[in-house]
Subunit: 303 residues, 2 copies
DNA sequence: GGAATTGATACTCCCTGGGCATCGATGATA
DNA sequence: TATCATCGATGCCCAGGGAGTATCAATTCC
């Protein structure tokens, strides 16, 4: 009997028993298992002793299952089948062929680079299930630290300890104006010209770095911003602009995917700068599936 | 690494790994497993080598699961849980507390003793699932020999090799007459008085012993039977009698459960005798669940 | 910077699984 | 009916390897 940690038997006993129970013949089963018949007899006897139950009625001419033996065989089949798949499955997980990635992103990420990155990644790694959740930068950083997500697409406000990042996007923002805005005829505008225009921004806590860059741009233009609304996620800001509530800031990449019911104009002079990175825990090093996604992101940024 | 019969690991490795994966702490896991920490480290290393995959990232201060380790833990939980139930389940099967019995019976058995036997048995062994199938005697004997049923309630025609039986019922049959039969006023009749009455019998092959006893009873009464129909199962014969097709033979026990739309009369003089037994394979000896059913049947016959 | 804690390693012991030879039992065959 | 072949069980031995003890190297905390 094996040392008892929890089970009074070992996988060996179960596999041996299954072979005997299938063939109802010790010698043939032993041959199939590539062991000698006495060894098999002893292992079966051990298993019976460990369970305190007779599994096989055997004369020297016939071997047959007891009800308990039949019940054991029945229960064993699915268990052993599941275990036999484990090695190949784990290899696939380790190599990144199958698995799961928890990915967080901001609205800007989804409006710009993320769809392309995911499309290419999913084509090359169809076995990886992505769990995508929109989330503001601050929450993404906390979730990364806590190990709740594997990577995030966010807008960094300086470096974070233990988090590595790759820059994906760094763009001077332009402004998004309602279709009936007085400056709609101009090809580009200056912040100073927008002194009287109400702006749609977002809660500072969700991305303090960019929020402060917005205020800094206003300040260096010598105007004070009129903040009409704060809205989150940012994608809803476009609707407010279309509704004529005010203007807002968007990056050129984002503007390309907006309908012509709103007007995008480049900013001359001071302008807030959006940065988008993908970030992940530096320790432990990214497992293969994550490494593949990060690689896809980096190549998208470069190409 | 264990000798490779099929799996590159043993249950021990899996249980050890689960403990470490749950606690993320080798020393505490070793303590819980009641082994020394070095032994645990080595078994985990072996498991990783066998799978060709790193399961845990460990520094001397932190232990964490790799994606492959997380996948393994996920797959292990249900498997180990299923295996941990096996010993108790098999014990229950071996003791006859749970299980399955395949029981065949004839119409007469169901019309007489079987319901009582089953009611008592099921109350005392609620864990035993009964699979009940009506089947003629000859088929029951073949099914017993082939191991397709565990016991049968049938009408033996002499002893069968390898089959043990217990007598449950041995009754002189009476006759079942249509309500408008000329002899309906008599309290009992003789076969000789039924010379002109057509009879509803059954295919001889389904119970040749009883069939021949019927013919013998007619012969010793000096009359030749008029056979109107042969029908199977026998319960349908009652319907034909009620329809006025003819008379048939039934045992007094069976007659007690028949509606007053047909008339049962005892037979004086020669009469066929019905015997009902429960039979089972003599080798191997009946497992507990079957033994309990056989015991219930025997006690019903005695009591 | 020292101390404590953690997982890994070196070495040893001995338990136990496996092989070989053989036995007793059971049908098959002549 | 006597012989033979085949089956599973048993006795004996060997060696592989699992577990224990002592110790090491690395990391973190005070």
């Amino acid at each position: 009997m094996p040392r008892e940690y929890q089970f009074p038997f070992e996988l060996r006993h179960l596999v041996y028993f299954r072979e005997v129970a299938r063939r109802l013949h010790f010698r043939k089963a032993a041959e199939a298992l590539a062991i000698a018949q006495p060894a098999l007899s002893r292992q079966i006897a051990q298993l019976e002793a460990a369970l305190g139950v007779r599994l096989l009625n055997r004369s020297s001419r016939r071997v047959e299952l007891t009800p308990a033996g039949a019940a054991l065989l029945e229960r064993l089949e699915p268990v052993l089948a599941a275990l036999s798949r484990v090695p190949a499955d784990l290899k696939a997980v380790a190599e990144g062929r199958v698995g799961r990635l928890r990915v967080a992103f901001t609205g800007l990420a989804m409006a710009t680079v993320l769809p392309d990155i995911l499309r290419g990644f999913h084509r090359r790694f169809p076995g990886i299930r992505l769990e995508l959740n929109e989330s503001p930068t601050a929450l993404q950083l906390a979730a990364l630290q806590a190990g709740e997500i594997d990577c995030g697409f966010f807008h960094p406000d300086g470096p974070s300890p233990g988090i590595d990042t790759t820059l994906l996007l760094r763009e001077r923002n332009g402004v998004l104006l309602p279709a009936d805005h007085p400056l709609r005829r101009k090809g580009s505008v200056r912040l100073r010209e927008l002194a009287g225009t109400p702006f749609v921004l977002f809660p500072r806590a969700n991305n303090p770095g960019f929020y402060d860059r917005v205020l800094a741009a206003f300040a260096s233009s010598g105007v004070a911003p009129r903040i009409a609304e704060e809205v989150w996620p940012r994608s809803n800001g476009v609707g407010l602009v279309r509704a004529g509530v005010g203007a807002t800031f968007v990056s050129p990449s984002e503007a390309r995917n907006l309908p012509p019911t709103v007007i995008f104009r480049k900013l001359l002079g001071p302008a807030p700068v959006s940065t988008l990175v993908v970030g992940w825990r530096s320790q432990p090093p990214p497992p293969p599936a994550l490494a593949a996604l990060l690689d896809a992101a980096a190549r998208h940024a470069a190409g």
